[in-house]
Amino acid sequence: MTTTTSTPRTSVCIALCGSGGAGVMTAGNLLLEAAAQAGWYGLMVRSSGPQIRGGEAAALMRIATHPIDCMDDRFDAIVAVDWQNIHRFADEVPLDRSSLIVGDPEQGAPPEVFVKSGARAVELPMKKIAKGIPGSWPNMIALGFASQLLGIPADKVKAVVARSLKKGAEQLPASVAAIEAGRAAAAGEGAAFTLAAPPAARAKRWLITGNQAAGFGAIRGGVRFVAAYPITPATELLEYMAPALPQVGGVLVQAEDELASVNMIVGASYGGVPALTATAGPGLALMTEALGLAVAAEVPIVVVDVMRGGPSTGIPAKSEQSDVSIALWGLHGDAPRLVIAPNSIADCLTATQWAVHLAEALQAPAIVLSDQFFGQARAVTDRPADSGLVGERLTAPAGSEGYKRYAVTDSGVSPMAIPGTPGLAYTADGLEHSERGIPSSGAADHRVQLAKRERKLVAHDYGAQWADVEGEGGIAVVTFGSCTGAAREAIARARADGVNARLVSMRLLAPARPKLLAAALDGVDRVLVVEQNHGGQFLRYLRAEFELPRTVRSFRHPGPLPIRPEEVHRQILALEEESPR
C-alpha cells in the first residue's frame, strides 16, 4: 500500500527518533496534541532501547482523519534528531521509496538499514538551527518540521507548546521560533504528506492511553478498591488510579507481591466493595490460585492483564497476545470465569467497565486482556460514552430466614450477604461446600455447585457486546484485542479490491458463545484467525469451543512487531483466491 499521490492524505505515519534525552517523546506528544486540537485523530506509541534511561527512543505516530487503532504498514517519514542506535528501530519503522528520511547532517549519515528502503533523504540541521535560537532545542525543530509536513496548523502547535510550558513561559518565544524554523524547512516538501481536513462536526475528543482508559473504566464501573504490585506494562494503570481513586472515595494499596494483591482484592470484594488489580503475565501466573478461590467462593474481582512478550519475564516492554491460554484455562479444577478483551484503546474503558459490571452481577472473577500496545499507546479518540453499566451485586436482605450463601438458583447466582448485615453471617469458602457454605466432600454437593458456577456464566445474556461483527461476505476475519485495528483496515482494503470480508472481533472470550459466533459466521465458508502470538492460542480456543467452517487459516506471529493491516490484507486476498466463488 504505497501512496505516491499528493492529494491530501487520510492518514500519515511519522517516527520521531533520537537518543534518550533528545526529547523526541515530548515532541511526539506535542504533535499528537496539536493534531487533536486541530480535529484529527491519532495514535502515538513509545519505543525505547533496553537501557533503563538514556537509551535510544522513538515516538511512533500516526495521524488520521478518522479513528484509528493501529499503526500503518509503512512510515511516511522518520525524523531523527540524532542516529545513535536508531537503526535498532528499523523493524518498527518500515520505510519505502515514497518515504522521507529526515536527519541532521551533523549527526552523520542515516543508517544503511533505512537508506536501503529507497526512501529519500532530507537534511535538516536541527542542532545548528537550534543553536541559532538561544534557549531552543533540536526536538522543537523536529516538531516544527513534522507539523508542517502533515499540515497541522502552526497556531495549534504553538498553543499546545505554550500550555505545556506552563511555568517556564519565558522559554516560549525560543520554542516558537524553533517550531517556525522547522516548519520553514519543511515547506519545500510540498503537500505530499499533507493530511486531508479533519471532520468538521465533532464530539468531545479525548487523549488517553489504554491503561488510563481501563483505569477510568473501572472507576465508572464502580471499582473502589485496588491492590496491586508494579509490573511493566500495567504500572501506568495503577499510577493513573493512585490519585484518581481517592477522589471518588476509593482506596489503592501497593501490596508486597501479587499473591497479596489478588488476595487483598478478594478480601475487599468479600466485604462488598468492587475491587480490581492490574498486572502482566508473570503476575497473572502468581494470581491463579486466588482466582480459583474467587471462583469457588463466588467473590467478584477484576484482574486487568496488560499482556507483554512471554514466556517468563520475556519481553516486558513489548506487546504480544500470548496470555490467552492462561486467561482461559490457567486455573486448576473446573473453574469457570469471565475473560473480556477490549479491542481498541477507547474500548479499554468500555470493556473494563463491562467487566466490572459482569463480575459483580455474576459473582465471578473477570480477567480483562489488554496488552502493552493498548496500555501504553496514547490515542485521540471520541469521548467513550458512559454505558451506565455499574457493578450491582445481588445481595441478600437482612434477616432472610435460613440464609444459604450458595443457594442453588435458576440463574446460578445466589444472593450474597455483605458483612455487617445482621442475621446472615456465613463463611465464604474455597473448599467445596453445601449451599450453606459448609465444607462438603459429597458428590452431590460438588456436582450441584460445579453446575451452578458454570450455569451462572453460561446462562447470562451478554447482549451485542460479546463481539463487534462488521461487514458481509463468505470470508470472515476472526480476531480479538489489538489485532482488531489491523484486521478492520485490511478488510477495508480488500473491499477496495472488490473482495468482501466480515470482521468478527470477539470481546467476550469466556464464557464462549457458540451460538452467537455461529450466527455471526452464517454464510461464511472461510475463516482467517488473526492473533499476535507464536503458538496460535486463540485458534486453539476457537477450535476447542466452537464449530468452525471447514476452511480455517491462521495468521499469526509473536511480538514485538505488531500485526500490520497489509499482512492481513494479503491473507484475505490469498483466501479469496483459494476457493474462488
Binding site: 481517592p246 494499596v253 494483591s261 474455597g430
Partner: protein, 276 residues
C-alpha cells in the same frame, strides 16, 4: 442473633457447626476464647469477620456466628488487609496455624506487621502441620522426627514474636489455649489495641504432637508486664523459655490509613484530564 442481649453472651458467637477437630485438640479452647473475647469487646457478630487460611486451625471461622472467610493457604493476612482497608467499620481478625502463617504466609506476616493496619492476627501454634498429617512447621523443634523429616529438620526454630517485633507489629502477646479465659483477655485487648496486634497461641496438636499435652505444666505468666520498647521486648523473648504467657509488647505506632480524597467527586468529574 436478633436478640442483642443474647448476642453479647459468648455463646451467641458460636455457630452450630460441629468442628472437625480431633478430640482434645487445643483449638477447641481457642474457639471458646474467641467467643469470650468477642463478647468482651461487645461488637455484634455481623460486625466481625474472621479471616483464615488452610489448616486445622484455619477451620475456626465457620464455628463462629460472625462472618467468616476461609481463603487459601497462607493468605489470610492479605485477604484481611484488603477487607479492613475496604471496610474499616468492621472488626477484622485473621487467624490460622503456624504453617499457614509462618511458612507459606511469612511474607504477608512481615508486611502486615510493617503496614500496621488495624487488624488482629491470631496464630494457633502447634509446631506442626496438623491438617496434612504431621510435617514440621517453622516452629517445629530441629530434632522432631516425622515421615518427611526422618532425622529431624536440623533447623533453628522460627521466632514469630521476635520477627513480629523486628517487622513492626504494634502489639505482641503469647497465650496458651489451655487457659481460655487468659486467651480471651489477651484477645480482647489485642482487638481493642489500634494497629496490627499479633497473638501467638500455643495450641496443642494432640494427634501428631501428643507430647504437647505437657505444655499445661510448662506455661507460666510473663514475669514482667508489657514494654513499649521493641528491642527490649525482643531481648526478653529471645531469652525466655518459650512458655512465658502474657502481653509482651504494646506499641503506639500510628495506624495505617490509606490516602483519601478531600471532596468526594463523581467519576464524571475525572473526565476533564482526558479532554483535548
Amino acid at each position: 442473633m436478633n436478640d442483642m442481649a443474647v448476642a453479647l453472651q459468648p455463646a451467641a458467637y458460636k455457630s452450630d457447626y460441629k468442628p472437625i477437630w480431633c478430640p482434645g485438640c487445643g483449638d477447641y479452647s481457642v474457639l471458646s476464647a474467641f467467643t469470650k473475647a468477642f463478647s468482651m469487646v461487645g461488637r455484634k457478630p455481623e460486625e466481625i469477620v474472621v479471616v483464615s487460611g488452610i489448616g486445622c486451625s484455619s477451620r475456626l471461622p465457620a464455628y463462629l456466628s460472625s462472618y467468616g472467610f476461609h481463603g487459601v493457604h497462607g493468605r489470610a493476612l492479605a485477604a484481611a488487609t484488603g477487607l479492613k482497608l475496604a471496610r474499616p467499620d468492621l472488626t477484622v481478625v485473621a487467624s490460622g496455624g503456624d504453617g499457614d502463617g509462618y511458612s507459606i504466609g511469612g511474607n504477608h506476616f512481615l508486611h502486615a506487621c510493617r503496614r500496621n493496619v488495624d487488624l488482629t492476627y491470631v496464630v494457633m501454634d502447634n509446631h506442626v502441620y496438623g491438617m496434612t498429617k504431621g510435617q514440621p512447621s517453622p516452629t517445629t523443634e530441629p530434632d522432631w522426627q516425622s515421615k518427611l523429616s526422618p532425622t529431624g529438620t536440623g533447623l533453628r526454630v522460627f521466632h514469630p514474636l521476635v520477627v513480629a517485633l523486628a517487622a513492626g507489629a504494634n502489639f505482641v502477646a503469647r497465650a496458651f489455649s489451655g487457659d481460655p479465659n487468659g486467651v480471651a483477655d489477651i484477645l480482647a485487648e489485642a482487638i481493642r489495641h489500634p494497629g496490627f496486634s499479633f497473638v501467638e497461641i500455643l495450641s496443642p496438636c494432640v494427634t501428631f504432637r501428643p507430647e504437647q499435652r505437657n505444655w499445661k505444666q510448662a506455661v507460666h505468666p510473663a514475669p514482667v508486664g508489657a514494654t513499649d520498647d521493641p528491642a527490649k521486648a525482643a531481648r526478653r523473648i529471645l531469652s525466655d523459655d518459650g512458655f512465658n504467657v502474657g502481653i509482651l509488647y504494646r506499641g503506639n505506632r500510628p495506624v495505617y490509613r490509606p490516602p483519601v480524597g478531600k471532596a468526594k467527586k463523581q467519576p464524571a468529574d475525572l473526565e476533564k484530564e482526558f479532554e483535548v
